[in-house]
Subunit: 383 residues, 2 copies
């Protein structure tokens, strides 16, 4: 085992693993069909349904892969070739959704929103009205990890459902950190990850399918031909047969199951509202501390994620060098900008166990000590 | 965290986790793009290539999913719709390979072999000669987990390659337990799992693509249209970009990486030949002990896996009740039969850390104490 440096994980994820979660992973391994494993999967389904606020009849479980495997499972089971799909693209992950929908043969119409801004209901409405026929699916991202933007997915889902579409919602960066209310939104297929707001390591993708989405996916007769062309690993019928009927499909990873189980227990012990408030308060504390350093955020205040802060890199500051110094000298990881914001923003995550006042103080102190010489030297040059 | 019972995992997998591997998982989490993580992935590539005995120019890595995700990654990247494929079906996992190939649009010809027997080169040769055109792909399973059979994949690969086909080989139940020699076989896409012969928990699928397979998958121009239709999560080009070029694709699970890294170090410290011999010797010890109890194995001696023993359930013995008693009274898990062998065989795994003389003794003592009353009572009835 090589030396593993200790990092304070304040990037776009993974977030720091809860100590109780790390301990839970050391329990002895169980097989994927052990009665004790099946009881734990039942408990996870029940707890996840509460954390997602899933509706009656929903099928809630976890795919054995990362958040991206959840995205692909949602698409693979709801979309067939030739379906019209609208994708709201507010950043990198909206774009990924559009790419994956296209891989499954959907005809994709993108509602493009300026990176750094949320999609307004009016923008989606205009997009829907411009369609020659109503779309079968509308896909969107709740917390856009690339820009730190929170989309008003409740309003967007209501518009999409009103137009007769199924909805896919990405809650990768919001679950466990922001209010998620799948039943209230009327969303149909919602996925997340374990390594951000939930405080567990990566490796499982919690998901919920509404009753109508699960029925749609389970294959009405006219879809039978396509059903056989879904990826085997992501086939909802086979995943349901494992989670509900104990029929072998794949060997679920015992330590990841223990970690998710424990993480969900911690979330529910803290309380969903309390946990959301904690994320909100630490986000506001970071915004205030950064503002005192003259640093602003990319999205306007009303459109900001609490779990991920997209921070404008001050003029004259060396992006890569500052991140390297943070990592090497302070052991702190923050994220780089993506796409059009590479070199222009940092992405600072305060997620799950990582959302604490201590971490805000530690980060801003470290950042301050690295930035003031750079900013001062620039001021000397240009003043 | 609920109570997790301690099991002796002697089923078809997962196998017992090596204690050193369990400790390695408790190292602090690293992000998927941390320089220290990237060094560890480099080390894993190098070690896996030695364990697979991969050839020059091969691309060796791990998919972020279970062994089945490795199977799907092999198929998704080598096959395009309309390709002819031959699948050697000697049991449940050969059948799964055929199903997955069909999902990707291959025209599948099955070489059906009696369950419980290995495929002979003559059987494959006859299958290849009966094809109207040579197949693009021949897929096969090295260790068939459902029947405890070892297929002579070296000979089978040479025949397939001689016919101009790419080869896919499933080493899920053989890697780390049986001689695996990917370069020697000339195999093109080979996958395995972490939770059997390697002694780590489930969750990653070690894989290797030969240079020509990786080039084929990377997309010659006439495949460009199909390339966009592979699952995003299993797209070899994107996986290569992450493993080789540090370009974000998904958030690999840090504890699973630590576990695989440590497990491979243990394998190489023990030595491949020494490890194979240990598996062989403990298999022979089990066969001998069972034979003294009047219990035989399903496959003939020359076709037996060392890692997984398919054992005929003696007449008059209650399959489910005996497995339940083993689990409840002794904490020992063994596997049930699948398909035509449900109720007829048990599957006893001696894999990875689980392949020890102690475990042979523990299991046979427990089994003996459960079986002798059942067998004796039957003898009283029928004699």
């Amino acid at each position: 085992m090589p030396h593993v440096p200790e990092r304070l994980l304040l990037g776009p994820g993974p977030s720091p693993v809860e100590p109780r979660v790390a301990r839970a992973m050391s329990a002895p391994a169980l097989s994927h069909l052990d009665p004790a494993m099946m009881s734990m999967l039942d408990a996870i389904r029940e707890r996840l349904a509460r954390v997602f606020r899933a509706g009656d009849g929903a099928f809630t479980f976890a795919v054995s892969g990362t958040g991206t495997s959840g995205m692909e499972t949602a698409v693979a089971n709801l979309v067939r070739p030739g379906d019209r799909a609208v994708v709201i693209v507010t950043g990198y992950f909206g774009d990924r959704l559009a790419q994956i929908l296209a891989r499954y043969g959907a005809t994709v119409t993108r509602v493009e929103v300026e990176w750094g801004r949320a999609c307004t209901p009016a923008e989606l409405d205009a997009g829907l009205k411009a369609m020659p026929e109503p779309p079968a699916v509308v896909a969107m991202v709740h917390g856009e990890t690339s820009t730190g933007v929170l989309n008003p997915v409740g309003d967007l889902c209501r518009l999409a459902s009103g137009a007769g579409a199924m909805t896919i919602v990405d809650c990768v960066t919001s679950l466990g950190a922001h209010p998620v209310d799948v039943a209230g939104w009327g969303a149909d297929a919602v996925y997340s990850c374990t390594q951000k707001g939930l405080g567990a390591p990566a490796g499982l993708a919690p998901m919920t399918f509404s009753q109508r989405a699960a029925e749609h996916a389970s294959g009405v007769a006219d879809r039978a031909d396509y059903a056989e062309r879904r990826p085997f690993y992501f086939d909802l019928r086979l995943l349901k047969d494992y989670w509900l009927n104990r029929k072998y499909h794949h060997t679920i990873s015992a330590p990841l199951v223990y970690a998710l189980d424990e993480a969900l227990e911690i979330v529910l012990q803290e309380g969903l509202e309390e946990r959301w408030n904690r994320h909100r308060e630490n986000h506001l504390a970071l915004v205030e501390a950064l503002s005192q350093m003259g640093i602003d955020l990319l999205p306007p205040p009303a459109e900001r994620l609490w779990s991920l802060n997209a921070v404008r890199i001050p003029d004259g500051v060396d992006d890569a060098e500052t991140r390297k110094q943070l990592l090497d000298r302070f052991g702190i990881e923050i994220g780089a900008g993506l796409g059009p914001f590479a070199g222009k923003i940092w992405r600072i995550g305060l997620m799950g166990h990582g959302s604490s006042r201590d971490n805000v103080a530690t980060l801003t102190a470290a950042l301050g000590s690295l930035l003031s010489p750079q900013i001062n030297s620039r001021r000397r040059v240009y003043q």
